[in-house]
């Protein structure tokens, strides 16, 4: 496989088979590596983009403790993103011969090359929307990292052991707020319910096994099947919602395509903010 043929569709195993690549040049091990790189990149992009979104709250949160809390949570996610993106770049390099570093992947890719789910790129909305998203995502990550503790991939299992402890705090933070707002005043209850209704269409995509099919087939035991995380996630999240006197939304549509690089305009607005400095001043440091 040549670097040039890959660079057109980096890290997208779905397109490799159809691409104009001489099949004779590809061996199975390369296909497996690309499937793994693609999976890791998806997880990394979820954490990177949500870290960026949460960072937008700093100086704007309802109280200074929340500025600090959301900043801390964003920092944990950024730490996870650094490990995941570095690893994705390294895996890609094994196939292409030139590996991209964490900064290359974070700052020099365009919208179509990002593999995050839609949930993490939606705008922050009011505080209730951000907490609804945090509840969904941190409860998902808690199950994800719990499952990855037993991954046969040593990098993923090491990260999971570290990150699951951080994410337990994130999940608890979101839980406390959803309970407090849901079971609070009529105004806070209504806005918390409206927030859940707004973010729920983005839930299905997180648990879509189709997006992870390549890696689950190629390297069994490495990735966590998203659908298998769903029952425990539902038990937790539904208990929070019920206890908060809120009702479980029944959305009429669902997002899809994030893992294949199809995004909403939200990501298009987020990326220049995140990438501008690096692109304007390559290699800048301070």
């Amino acid at each position: 496989m040549t670097a040039a043929s890959l660079s057109r569709q980096p890290l997208d195993s779905a397109d490799i088979d159809q691409a104009d690549i001489d099949q004779a040049d590809i061996d199975q091990a390369d296909i497996d590596q690309i499937a793994l790189a693609s999976y890791v990149l998806g997880l990394g992009d979820d954490t990177l983009i949500l870290a960026q979104r949460l960072g937008e709250w700093i100086t704007r949160a309802p109280q200074i403790e929340e500025d600090i809390a959301l900043g801390n949570i964003a920092l944990d996610l950024l730490g996870q993103a650094r490990t995941l993106l570095s690893y994705a770049g390294e895996l890609e390099g094994k196939v292409t011969g030139t590996s991209r570093g964490e900064d290359d992947l974070a700052f020099l890719r365009d919208e179509r090359e990002f593999r995050n789910v839609h949930l993490v790129e939606i705008e922050n909305g009011d505080f209730a929307v951000t907490m609804a998203r945090q509840l969904i995502f941190s409860a998902y990550q808690y199950e994800l990292y719990t499952a990855l503790l037993t991954s046969t991939d040593p990098t993923l299992s090491a990260l999971a052991a570290k990150a699951v402890k951080e994410v337990a705090y994130h999940r608890d933070h979101a839980t406390q707020w959803v309970l407090r707002l849901g079971d609070g005043t009529p105004e806070s209850h209504d806005r918390m319910q409206a927030a859940l209704d707004q973010v729920w269409p983005y839930v299905e995509e997180i648990f879509d096994t189709a997006d992870t099919a390549d890696i689950l087939t190629a390297l069994p035991g490495v990735a966590a099947d998203p659908a298998a995380l769903r029952p425990a996630w539902s038990r937790y999240v539904e208990a929070v919602i019920t206890t908060a006197t809120l009702s479980l939304p029944a959305p009429t549509w669902r997002s899809r395509g994030g893992r294949a690089g199809y995004h909403s305009e939200n990501l298009g607005h987020l990326l220049p903010d995140m990438q501008n400095l690096h692109r304007s001043h390559p290699g800048a440091s301070w």
Binding site: N72, G79, K165, D172
Partner: protein, 166 residues
């Protein structure tokens, strides 16, 4: 220099955020080895994956060893096994208290607010490092650095940081 001496030098490097603690006290210095070619191999583990102090600490270790006359140094960071506050030394606990930070309690998984949904502070009370009172209140589970939470003492009315158990 022996490996033990090298380990003492690296272990004595102070944490940049909480300078009363050394890397040894924190338990983040995982290993020091002397390779056949004379390179000193230092293994560190971060407290939190995103802790910004990690890069500074690696640089400080390198500087300390270089000052002690070591020419070739290789500092690497590993995530596994994951750091836990249980690795903090007893001396570290005492130093933290004297510095005004409540030391971490023995590690337990972060509890869920669901287990007692209508109360907010669910973990054991942190003991106020100033007056010793346990009549304290957790203000926020997230503090000035990733490893600390924010508390207030209801006896002496002073706010204080508490090291989070993870």
């Amino acid at each position: 220099m022996t490996v033990d001496q090298l380990r003492d030098i690296a272990g004595a490097v102070p944490d940049p955020e909480i300078p009363v603690l050394t890397l040894h006290d924190l338990g983040i210095l995982r290993d020091v080895q002397l390779a056949a070619d004379g390179t000193v191999e230092v293994t560190l583990t971060p407290t939190y994956t995103g802790c910004p102090a990690t890069a500074v600490i690696a640089g400080d270790v390198e500087t300390a060893l270089r000052t002690a006359g070591v020419a070739r140094i290789n500092v690497r960071t590993v995530l596994s096994p994951a750091w836990t506050t249980d690795w903090m030394s007893q001396d570290g606990h005492r130093k933290l208290r004297e510095y005004g930070i409540a030391p971490p309690v023995a590690c337990q998984p972060a509890q869920s607010a669901l287990s007692a949904p209508r109360s907010i502070g669910l973990t054991l009370s942190a003991r106020c490092p100033r007056c010793g009172s346990t009549t304290t209140r957790e203000i926020s589970r997230f503090g000035s650095t990733p490893c600390k939470s924010l508390w207030a003492c209801l006896s002496c009315a002073e706010p204080f940081d508490s090291f989070k158990a993870i």
